[in-house]
């Protein structure tokens, strides 16, 4: 339970084993879902398989308060925005280190394989632990992805294989192997995935229906990871990871009535090596060091006679160097942490007039936490200094910003009451600053403020949580059209009021274990930019006022059966709130049956899922239809 390290800091002096446990637990802190000062939701590998979750986006959209923009299909862009703030306000971390894309902004979470995931955690505000890089405290929400740790119970070697196959030419194979050598673990993962993605759709068009199949929606990708983890009796923990990824896909684009001409292709390469090291010097003094080098490359291509020689190609390469150092001191009842990150980003692009920008960022975060009996108060101050260099043209002014966050928590064994206030912002991306004709270097950060109050209550059989929030966003970074061009500008203010309510229960009926969970989100996100505008107080696009998710899992012996639903009220796909701009409400239902087999000491688990059972022809993004009814078979084998 007390797996969040810092929450447990006051217990440090009590016994070595406690500390040891907490230190180790930092790795899997995402396991803790309730009892935190900032709302946190998690999903584990077991739930992912039992619920037939398709991909990371499918997992995240089951959380409350999230809004996953899903352009459909395996290869379709998937970004996550939280509580009406826009996707660029959510940071994504992969095994503890923040993933960034300085060129495009929001990270495409469709890129990460769900097959390797041990836990996914979404925290509003910031993760609970204090011993984090400064980048973990600098955004409005954090999606933490933790990959599976090898299991060496009664063995020295851990090997797994996973095979998935499904409708529309979907095939995914993954192998993992790990070997324990004294205090270290060496593991490797390799994965190959492909999909044709040519699923059928039907879209209403006045009195008729447009039937078709998605075109140019295929994808293939390959990924490999090597991990070396070392743990030295709780004093030192080191995790070294190398990651390589390649994908090539078609971008099907919106369905255009009467003419399908999708020819856009996108190839991606990503390589990074990162090291995350925790060092406990004394019982009340710990350090954490992170370093990362990231290379990402993409090639975009479109074919159309409107381009010179009929083709347009764009090549982009980004490099990132990152180093972070954090220290945590604890004198009961006070804990203090200080973290400093240095990040260097470059973009090389053959886009016309791209000035080959380089950005140097210094980010630091100071946290002070006091814990007194059942109360705990935390104050955070984040400072950023960013400066950019360009080969030619204008460059933005240096950015110097200081933003605070406060949280307060009262907790007992069964209940938590929490409050949080935080100021965050997002800095403009390289595309927003420099992209040919569109970019403007005078952009200021987009400002956000988040307030949350909530409580949770739970026993081993039942839990319930409710959170109420008020956010606002100012100086939105948006593209403004004129008769001539679209230009990026800071324009617009949004007020958001919302509530996330979740409940879950577990109980047995005879030999059957039943687990039921449900959540409901209310989100009123209105444009308050200009009281003279037709848009004043309009709900912002792609934000349902009501949405909800529910899941039921029944487990009996080696069998489990699940049923899930995701329900969304109407949304608008354009800013103007008229019926023409509505997207229909939808409810998607899926079911998964899982069985495990013991084969001579090895474990085999097979799942069959029927997704979108009712064949509901719905879209998340207008004219990017989602797949109708389809099937997936998954087999996991553990040696």
């Amino acid at each position: 339970m007390a797996s969040a390290l810092l929450w447990a800091v006051p217990m440090f002096a009590q016994s070595d084993s406690t500390i040891h446990r907490d230190v180790e637990a930092v790795d899997v802190e995402a396991h803790t879902q309730k009892r935190q000062a900032m709302p946190t939701q998690t999903m584990s590998a077991i739930e992912i398989q039992q619920l037939g979750v398709q991909n990371l986006a499918d997992a995240v959209r089951r959380f409350s308060g999230t809004n996953v923009k899903d352009y459909g299909g395996v290869g379709g862009l998937k970004t996550v925005s939280v509580r009406g703030l826009g996707a660029a306000h959510t940071a994504v971390s992969y095994d503890g280190v923040v993933v960034s894309d300085c060129q495009a902004g929001p990270v495409d979470i469709g890129r990460f394989s769900i097959g390797s995931i041990e836990t996914i955690a979404l925290t509003i505000g910031q993760p609970d632990g204090l011993l984090q890089p400064a980048s973990a405290f600098a955004q409005a929400a954090m999606l933490s992805i933790s990959t599976r740790k090898p299991n060496f119970i009664e063995k020295q070697t851990d090997a797994r294989a996973q095979l998935k196959g499904g409708s529309f030419g979907y095939f995914d194979a993954q192998v993992e192997a790990a070997r324990k050598v004294r205090h270290s673990t060496l593991s490797g993962t390799a994965q190959f995935m492909r999909s044709r993605g040519d699923y059928p759709y039907s879209l209403p068009n006045v009195d008729t229906t447009e039937h078709g199949r998605r075109q140019n929606s295929d994808i293939r990708s390959a990924r490999a990871e090597i991990n070396l983890s070392t743990a030295d009796s709780g004093r030192l923990q080191n995790h070294l990871k190398a990651y390589g990824f390649y994908s090539e896909r078609g971008l099907p684009g919106a369905v255009i009535f009467y003419y399908q001409q999708a020819k856009e292709r996108l190839a991606d390469k990503n390589f990074f090596v990162q090291n995350d090291c925790r060092l406990r010097l004394r019982d009340n003094l710990m350090f954490r060091f992170q370093a990362k080098y990231n290379y990402s490359w993409n090639r975009y291509e479109d074919t159309n006679v409107k381009y010179t020689s009929g083709r347009y190609v764009e090549l982009n390469t980004q490099h990132e160097g990152y180093f972070s150092m954090a220290g945590l001191w604890s004198w009961r009842p006070v804990s203090v942490s200080l973290a400093g990150d240095v990040v260097y980003n470059t973009l090389e692009s053959d886009i016309k007039d791209n000035p080959q920008p380089r950005r140097l960022t210094f980010l630091s975060a100071l946290n002070v936490r006091a814990a007194l009996q059942r109360f705990e108060a935390t104050a955070t101050l984040v400072a950023r200094h960013a400066s950019e260099k360009v080969e030619f043209g204008k460059r933005p002014d240096d950015l110097k910003r200081l933003t605070p966050a406060f949280s307060l928590k009262w907790s007992s064994n069964r209940a938590t009451i929490r409050a949080m206030a935080k100021a965050t912002y997002r800095i403009p991306t390289f595309n927003e600053l420099y992209y040919t004709t569109l970019g403007t270097t005078g952009l200021k950060p987009e400002e956000a403020r988040e307030l949350n109050v909530g409580f949770d209550f739970g026993t081993s059989k039942f839990d319930f949580s409710a959170d109420f929030y008020a956010n606002n966003v100012e100086n939105k970074i948006v593209a403004i059209p004129t008769l001539y061009v679209w230009k990026m500008a800071n324009y617009g203010e949004v007020h958001i009021l919302g509530a996330d309510v979740a409940a879950g229960t577990e109980f047995d009926v005879a030999a059957v274990k039943l687990k039921l969970t449900a959540n409901y989100s209310y989100q009123k996100a209105i444009d308050v930019t200009d009281s003279n505008s037709k848009l004043y107080k309009s709900q912002i696009p792609y934000t349902p006022l009501h949405s909800g998710k529910a899941a039921a899992v029944a487990t009996f012996g080696k069998y489990s059966l699940s049923a899930t639903t995701i329900v969304s009220g109407k949304r608008y796909f354009l800013e103007y709130n008229i019926p023409d701009n509505e997207i229909e409400p939808y409810a998607e239902f899926s079911a998964t049956a899982t069985r495990s087999f013991n084969i001579g000491g090895s474990l085999l688990t097979a799942s069959l899922s029927c997704l979108n059972i009712t064949d509901n022809q719905y879209s998340v993004i207008k004219y990017y239809p989602m797949p109708g009814r389809h099937f997936q078979l998954q087999v996991n084998f553990t040696l």
Binding site: D207, I256, K306, L483, M488, L516, A518, K570
Partner: protein, 360 residues
């Protein structure tokens, strides 16, 4: 206790599903036919990738004088993606839809008579012109294509012009073509097509480029172009000599009564690229080159800062139709009489109304 909880939970789930999903679609809107009296067809461009182009009808001489989405009502299907140009010619109406990539010939009530879907090598259809029973269409395949109004199902030929041509206009026996840009190259030529042979007469090299709109007033030809510094300027083009001269600024032009009527929505950017729009309307005496203000904006002061996306004149009576657009909300059309006095304004059924066609 547990059972009760499940009960409550399932009730909640059921309730929620009902709330979210059970909102019925609006019952069928009544679909009145287009009346064959004096009327103005208005094309709403819509937003790219949104399949929301639409065609409306305004009756200038009647009450209940607006019908929305008459194309959808007449054809049972939407116009498609990005309505580009609209032209009344003969007793038919022609519309080019650039995203959905087709040209349609409509009857007097907006019903499709026939259509042509442009191929990949044709490129997207853009603007229309008509003469002697033929429709000419510029396409983003660097072409102008020719269609016989009697049967548009197959083109009657095409001419290679400059890069991604935009507006085209007839002057005598010539078709003049605004060549625009093929990213990242701006075309600096204006193409002149001889309509007798349907071949290029000449490609006039200029020191400007990225041409957009064209108006022919008697012997004078006016062309707008995008400058590299994000403004839209006007040129005077002498077809015979090929001489091109700067001629002020306008963003929309209409030829009427041997004069050039202009709207100019000038975009002014500040240092942070925040745009301000300054709009004015003027008429140019093409013989003297003198400009005079035309519209009295006291009743529509908002037009002074609006982006004018549609600017048309009713050839029967000289009434002005000014369409303001913001790319986000439905457009508003302002109607003024020929003396410039404000008559009325109304909202269209879609984003960015861009052209009107007058039918008697």
């Amino acid at each position: 206790m547990k059972k009760q909880f499940i009960k409550i939970l399932s009730l909640c789930a059921l309730g929620a599903t009902t709330v979210f999903v059970s909102c019925d679609k609006n019952s069928d809107d009544e679909k009145p036919e287009v009346k064959t009296v004096k009327r103005v067809f208005i094309l709403n461009e819509g937003k790219m990738n949104s399949n929301n182009a639409s065609l409306d009808v305004y009756y200038p001489n009647g009450e209940n004088n607006y019908q929305s989405k008459v194309f959808a009502a007449a054809n049972g299907q939407g116009l498609g993606d990005t309505g580009q140009d609209l032209l009344a010619y003969g007793n038919r109406i022609y519309v080019s839809v650039s995203g959905s990539n087709y040209l349609a010939k409509l009857d007097q009530k907006g019903k499709i008579v026939e259509q042509y879907s442009f191929t990949e090598t044709d490129g997207s259809p853009r603007y229309l012109a008509a003469k002697d029973g033929f429709i000419y269409v510029s396409t983003w395949g660097n072409k102008v294509m020719k269609f016989d109004t009697a049967a548009i199902v197959a083109p009657k030929g095409s001419v290679e012009v400059g890069l991604n041509p935009e507006e085209i206009a007839i002057k005598g026996n010539y078709l003049i073509v605004c060549n625009s840009t093929e990213y990242p190259i701006n075309d600096s030529t204006i193409s002149v097509i001889d309509l007798t042979t349907f071949t290029i007469k000449k490609n006039v090299e200029t020191q400007f480029g990225n041409f957009q709109k064209i108006a022919v007033v008697g012997d004078s030809v006016y062309i707008t172009y995008y400058t590299p510094s994000y403004s839209i300027e006007m040129l005077n083009f002498d077809v015979e000599s090929g001489i091109v001269k700067p001629s002020g600024s306008a963003t929309n032009m209409v030829s009427f009564d041997d004069k050039l009527y202009c709207a100019n929505s000038a975009t002014v950017y500040d240092a942070d690229w925040n745009a301000t729009i300054n709009t004015n309307f003027f008429v140019r005496d093409v013989k003297t080159g003198k400009d005079s203000e035309i519209l009295d904006l006291t009743s529509a002061p908002e037009l002074k800062t609006a982006t004018v996306y549609l600017f048309e004149i009713d050839p029967d009576n000289g009434d002005f139709y000014v369409g303001a657009a913001d790319y986000v909300t439905n457009g508003t059309i302002y109607r003024f009489d020929k003396t410039g006095k404000f008559i009325t304004k109304f909202e269209t059924s879609g984003l960015n109304p861009n052209h009107a066609a007058f039918v008697k």
